[in-house]
Amino acid sequence: TRWAIAIHGGAGGDPSKWNDEKRSARREGLEAALTIGRDLLAGGGSALDAVEAVIRSMEDNASFNAGRGAVLTKEGNAELDASIMDGRTRACGAIAGVTTIKNPISTARLVMTETKHVLLAGPGADAFAASQNVPLVDPKYFLSRRPGRSNSSTDTGQDPHFG
């Protein structure tokens, strides 16, 4: 096998209990993300670039519990985590508990490449992202109102997402 890729959009919920709209949105999101990764790898792109691009796609899609559409804390906020690791060198980067970073996976990669650290958390991680000029958003951005979203009250009550 010259190249290979696998993706997941989360475990825990029972798809048999989803309505058609949610099933369709989730499947379309998976296919879009996988297509991005396949095309990158088939074109000779790196595994690291493929991983980042695929995850960015799912972070931007409110059907998944990451980025826009993420589930909410007890206080009603989105606190996001992400990590990335390069198998060539075992270099890695991660962020935890961030609230304003549009694409956490890309900032995790910047932690890996632009600092000597592995994990930045909370306001410090948000500040690091700002210093790197990555896209920041109002925390309300994560509170998607799109049908099939992950952070709807229906989902949180009947179809829990796992971390």
């Binding site: 190249w3 290979a4 995850i55 992400a82 198998g87 949180t156 796992f162």
Partner: protein, 134 residues
């Protein structure tokens, strides 16, 4: 949670995971996604791993690293290592894993009612599933 593992045509592996955590979680709670070795791991000598599930269990069992270690130290195949973790180490209903080995084998397993996932490779495979038949 979302995740991706990949092997490129240069033989390099990478893994990534991103999440909002658990619904109605305690503010400040951190799961396995940002914990390298728990929810994410990659080593060109073995495999790349991304997990989804009850993060605390992935942290306690160092799941992602453990799969790589079983391949390196015990000589297990990727599939055997993943199966051991998912069926022997983790309790039912805890979560799922996607992995790709250094030679391009893809393994995806879960012990929850569902796991949205997909796989593609240079042999023409391209598939997505809402319910994976383990």
């Amino acid at each position: 949670t979302v995740g991706c593992v990949a092997l490129d045509s240069a033989g390099n592996l990478a893994a990534g995971t991103s999440t909002g955590g658990t619904a109605k979680k305690l503010p400040g709670r951190v799961g396995d996604s940002p914990i390298v070795g728990a929810g994410t791991f990659a080593d060109n000598a073995s495999c790349a791993v991304s997990g989804t599930g009850v993060g605390e269990e992935y942290i306690r069992n160092a799941v992602a690293y453990d799969i790589s270690a079983q391949m390196l130290y015990a000589g297990l195949s990727l599939e055997s290592a993943v199966t051991e973790v998912m069926t022997e180490r983790l309790k039912p209903g805890i979560g799922g894993l996607i992995c790709v080995s250094h030679d391009g084998q893809i393994v995806m397993q879960h012990n929850t009612p569902g796991m949205s996932c997909g796989a593609a490779d240079s042999g023409g495979r391209f598939e997505t599933q809402l319910v994976l038949d383990n």
